[in-house]
């Protein structure tokens, strides 16, 4: 029998058992009640409890079996597994029916099960984080078994080119040994992030100031969706824009000033990334500025301060923790941004401070390492995980600091709308 049909049959039987449990339990409970027995729960609740006791353990058995099957490679035929699950379902059905007793608190039992299921769902996010961490750390450790950690941190040459030969046991045939010095990658990442921040923070913050302090309501209601559209544009689209439109413009402009710019210059992805992050900064800053209590503004205005003085000397200093927090989040986004740099920045690891030259970033190298034809075991592929680990740690720290700052800000002004 084809596998799909087996699954279908299994589901059908399980649903049938569940329905049977529901109706049998309800009939039984109604029957008991009709005879004048006082019961602590309602027939429907007994019915649902029976359904849960039928399907729950059965699905658990099936899931566990599948897990063991996949993980430990145990050789349990699917048919047996599903059969066992159905047997458990029948047992559960009988148990459920036997629990249709006047003194059984079916409602509490259901409540407990639901609570457990919800808690299990909540654990998924933890498992996800652990999954990311474990998968990255595990492969990164394998990378550092092959390559020196010290060289990774301090080396200034990133030349993974020949590592696939090493993986194939033919290291001697390569012209030179692969080198994994990540400094140029991080330098490129930070330079592009810096350019992005130089674009995004002033424009985003100023736009937020305008929206929060000056704009008439009509402009505000119009500008918010415009910025939201800017925020909703996929990064791959920004990448295309950076590579096809912005980069040539920069080359032309640089040429006009007699400068030589690469078509993969760092300026184009940096500027476009900045544009992408403007709405992020402006909406967070807008929230923060609005959260500064009006009593601050009134206090300043009542002293005969002008609006500009009030904003620069009172409102912004009060909002600064929130603004810094937003900027840190923005930096974390820029560091991890992938598509724009993959499409518009270069592939060549290049340690330079000249934004007109091409340079590469951490995320570009991660993508390059994992989309090539290398074997998974090669040092180049594994280097992606080492880079990913650094990226994970850095963004995590930035995010943590940002959350702590915004929490302090929130406590200070007791505003809940952040």
């Amino acid at each position: 029998m084809p596998t799909n049909q087996v699954y279908l049959l299994f589901s059908a039987v399980l649903i049938a058992l569940g329905l049977a449990a529901f109706f049998l339990a309800r009939v039984r409970a109604s029957h008991l009640r009709a005879h004048g027995t006082t019961m602590v729960a309602q027939p429907d609740q007994y019915a649902w409890f029976s359904v849960l006791s039928t399907a729950g353990p059965a699905l658990l058995v099936a899931a566990l079996g599948a897990f063991v099957l996949l993980l430990l490679g145990a050789d349990i035929p699917t048919l047996y597994l599903l059969g066992a699950s159905l047997v458990v379902a029948v047992v559960g059905l009988l148990v459920g029916l036997s629990q249709v007793r006047p003194d059984f608190h079916a409602r509490q039992a259901i409540e407990k099960v639901i609570r457990g299921v919800l808690a299990a769902a909540a654990m998924v996010s933890i498992v996800t984080t652990l999954g990311i961490l474990i998968s990255i750390v595990f492969e990164a450790v394998r990378f550092f078994q092959m390559q020196s950690f010290w060289e990774f941190v301090t080396g200034t040459t990133w030349a993974p080119g020949n590592s696939f030969l090493a993986a194939a046991g033919r290291a001697d045939e390569g012209a030179s040994a692969a080198q994994f010095g990540s400094v140029p990658l991080f330098a490129g990442t930070f330079l592009i992030t810096l350019i992005a921040m130089l674009v995004a923070i002033p424009i985003g913050l100023m736009a937020a100031i305008y929206m929060a302090e000056f704009a008439p309501i009509r402009v505000r209601t119009l500008a918010k969706p415009v910025l939201e559209v800017l925020a909703g544009i996929p990064t791959v689209v920004y990448g295309f824009f950076a590579a096809i439109t912005v980069a040539p413009i920069i080359v032309d402009v640089a040429g006009f000033f007699g400068l030589d710019a690469s078509f993969n210059n760092a300026l184009a992805p940096g500027i476009v990334m900045g544009i992408m992050i403007i709405p992020f900064i402006s909406s967070l800053s807008d929230d923060v500025i609005n959260a500064v209590p009006d009593s601050m503004r009134e206090g300043s205005l009542a002293l005969g301060m002008t609006k500009a003085e009030t904003i620069t000397s009172v409102v912004l200093p009060a909002a600064i923790p929130g603004i810094i927090s937003a900027s840190l989040l923005a930096v974390s986004r820029a560091l991890g941004e992938t598509m724009i740099v993959v499409m518009a920045a270069g592939m060549r690891p290049n340690l330079t401070a000249n934004p007109l030259e091409d340079m590469t970033t951490v995320t570009v190298r991660i993508v390059a390492a994992l989309t090539g034809d290398q074997e998974f075991e090669s040092a180049e592929t594994l280097s992606a995980f080492a880079l990913g680990l650094v990226l994970f740690v850095v963004t995590l720290v930035l995010n943590m600091v940002s959350v702590i700052m915004i929490r302090r800000f929130r406590e200070k002004y007791r505003s809940n709308d952040l």
Binding site: S295, L303, S313, V314
Partner: protein
């Protein structure tokens, strides 16, 4: 708004009894002013005539007429929602900050209509300071909380001058001895009562003519309240004080004149002693004796 103001000013000559020598009056109910102030010779600070104010369609002030005298404490009392805070905020145009507010009538200070579009509200607020219900020190040091405004107003040119001004303001506010060793600490680190005195010091540091106080003690404990009340008594030597209070005992203790507002109308404006011993109006009497409030 401009037209309406012009109209109301044109109306002025038709009301000779509302002339500049007007004493505390009991307007609207009897239509003519009643001179109740024995202690004549006070100079007029702010003159208000036929002041009406709307929040959207909701009229919050109705035909308010009042004269505020220099170097006195004038208390505004009345049940909550009676318009006393709204009225106070008309005196330094803080209502400008609220959209959809409409004001008619005359608020005159130093011979100028403060609602005149040619009047710079910043200049007005420079001369009419304000202290709020909840202490609102800036997120700066104690020193900066006070030095900030005078510096912006170019009242000080040298650091030494600034130090002196800060010290003087803190001394006037009776806070100097408590904070002189921690001027660099944030203003928010002080207790509630100290914060409120800091706000008062901040207001007097710019040397205004009038200080408006909007229930300045309602968020404070009794001891801090007493300190601030003493302070008000002292400050009226230098400044004109208009204070809103929900606490009638406070009005009786600190105010020279008391105005009773009810549902947006000024019901009675009287010498404080008269107001609390022998009010002219039934409504004021009912309020003072606790029939409602």
């Amino acid at each position: 708004m401009l037209n309406e103001q012009t109209v109301s000013r044109e109306n002025e000559p038709g009301q000779p009894s509302m002339g500049p020598t007007l004493k505390p009056v009991q307007p609207s109910t009897q239509g003519k002013p009643v001179n109740t102030n024995e202690d004549a010779g006070h100079e007029l600070s702010i003159r208000v005539r036929d002041l009406n104010l709307w929040y959207g369609a909701n009229q919050a002030l109705k035909n308010v007429n009042i004269d505020v005298y220099q170097h006195n404490v004038t208390a505004l009392i009345g049940p909550s929602g009676c318009g006393k805070s709204t009225f106070l905020r008309c005196l330094n145009r803080m209502n400008d900050l609220i959209r959809s507010v409409k004001i008619e009538g005359l608020v005159e200070m130093d011979g100028r209509d403060v609602n005149d579009p040619r009047m710079d509200e910043i200049a007005l607020r420079r001369r009419v300071g304000m202290v709020f219900q909840k202490p609102n020190p800036f997120p700066k040091s104690i020193y900066e909380n006070i030095a900030y405004a005078p510096r912006m107003h170019d009242l000080v040119s040298r650091k030494a001058e600034q130090d002196e001004l800060v010290e003087q303001a803190l001394r006037d506010a009776g806070l100097w001895n408590e904070v002189k060793d921690k001027l660099a600490e944030p203003g928010t680190s002080l207790s509630g009562g100290q914060q409120q005195r800091l706000c008062i010091a901040r207001a007097i540091a710019v040397k205004p003519d009038v200080i408006l106080m909007d229930e300045p003690t309602s968020a404070l404990d009794p001891i801090s309240t007493a300190t601030i009340e003493d302070l008000m008594d002292k400050l009226k030597q230098q400044f004109t004080i208009v204070t809103v209070t929900h606490n009638m005992q406070q009005a009786a203790r600190v105010a020279d004149y008391t105005a009773f507002f009810h549902l947006g109308e000024l019901i009675e404006y009287n010498d404080t002693r008269m107001m609390f011993s022998n009010p002219h109006t039934k409504k004021a009497e009912d309020y003072i004796t606790g029939r409602y409030g």
